[in-house]
């Protein structure tokens, strides 16, 4: 591990080193845009053809949890940006503090996702042999609101009328839901790992106004992961909510 501000051998100046790191991270993020892009393409096509099923699938998602996660993640972007600022102005404790806040918020996001995934598992909405879009409607649990179940049954019967293969198409929606949020969550876990490293480095006093490149770079990564969620939220959670 090199010390603060040490110049790597292949570079001539610290400026060049910093420029390279920044360009490198941005180029990497460009690759991530295309990586997620393949899934967005798949989503676009399938939603275009199976709008009904996508609406039904989307309505099974808990909007409160999804909205909460959106707020959590955007807040974590704020704390991440603040930690970059703090490192820029030499406030070491604040840098660490904001990084810790970012990590806590990121972990909270993942926790909420676990809750959501568990819910899907209980309702037989994991793609595979047991997938059944109307499982909850057919087998409501005692704590389910009967009015909600009635509304869901009605929605489903209308949907089945429009699309006899609703189950198969809803399964496509959920494959995308798990695929896209799963890939996103994986990126968040990697981000959380990097934050742990950053926090340790920050506590060791490694970041100063002249050298805070890792904070900035990992910050860029974190914001990118936030941007992916900013698109995932409306695309997955907000389809046909007016019905």
């Amino acid at each position: 591990m090199h010390r603060t501000g040490e110049l790597y051998g292949q570079f001539e100046t610290l400026e060049q080193q910093k420029e390279s790191a920044a360009l490198g991270m941005w180029v990497f993020l460009a690759t991530e845009v295309l990586f997620f892009g393949g899934l967005f393409m798949t989503y676009t096509l399938n939603r275009h053809y199976y709008g009904t099923a996508f609406g039904v699938g989307s309505n099974t998602l808990d909007l409160k949890l999804g909205g909460l996660n959106t707020v959590i993640l955007i807040l974590s972007s704020l704390t991440m940006a603040m930690s970059v600022w703090a490192s820029h102005v030499g406030k070491r404790k604040a840098t660490t503090g904001f990084l810790v806040a970012t990590l806590i918020l990121g972990t909270a996001f993942l926790g909420v996702k676990v809750i959501e995934y568990k819910q899907k598992f209980d309702h037989h909405l994991i793609p595979g042999y047991h997938f059944q879009i109307d499982y909850r409607a057919q087998h409501p649990s005692p704590n389910d609101d009967p009015k909600e179940i009635e509304a869901e049954k009605e929605e489903l019967s209308k949907a089945f009328a429009k699309d006899p293969d609703l189950n198969a198409h809803a399964q496509l929606y959920f494959s995308l839901y798990f695929g896209m949020t799963g890939l996103h969550a994986l990126h968040m876990i990697v981000g959380a790992g990097m934050l742990l490293w950053l926090i340790r480095q920050s506590m060791l006093g490694r970041f100063t106004p002249t050298y805070n490149t890792p904070v900035e770079m990992i910050g860029l990564y974190w914001h990118f992961v936030d941007i992916v969620w900013i698109y995932l939220f409306p695309l997955l959670y907000l389809i046909d909510r007016h019905q």
Binding site: A30, V33, G37, V71, S77, L78, A81, P164, I227, P234
Partner: protein, 107 residues
């Protein structure tokens, strides 16, 4: 990266704008605008993304080549989406109609 240091109040301001936009997108989802629901949703998401890129990620204060990288990434994603869709959308026959699902799923 430029040495331009963005003051915290800008960050907080952006954060609050993002919160407002999040609320807006949820609210808009409850109004039936037909095909415009998706347009509004994507427009708001894009506006949020732009704010994050410009301010949280400092793109506004970054060298031109950073901005070029961002534009290229978005442009390439757009090509992939647009040109692929150009195939599906201009077909004379509908691909997904009349596909029936055998009992495969139940077995």
């Amino acid at each position: 990266m430029s040495e331009h240091i963005v003051p915290p109040k800008v960050y907080v301001g952006i954060f609050l704008s993002l919160m407002v936009l999040t609320a807006a997108t949820v609210a808009a989802a409850y109004v039936n605008l037909g095909p415009f629901n998706i347009v509004i949703a994507l427009a708001i998401a894009s506006l949020k993304a732009t704010l994050v890129v410009l301010y949280f990620m400092h793109a506004r204060y970054s060298p031109k080549r950073t901005q070029l990288v961002i534009i290229c990434a978005v442009f390439w994603l757009a090509i992939m989406l647009a040109l692929t869709l150009s195939d599906y959308v201009t077909r004379d026959h509908d691909v997904a109609a009349n596909i029936s699902v055998p009992q495969m799923l139940e077995s």
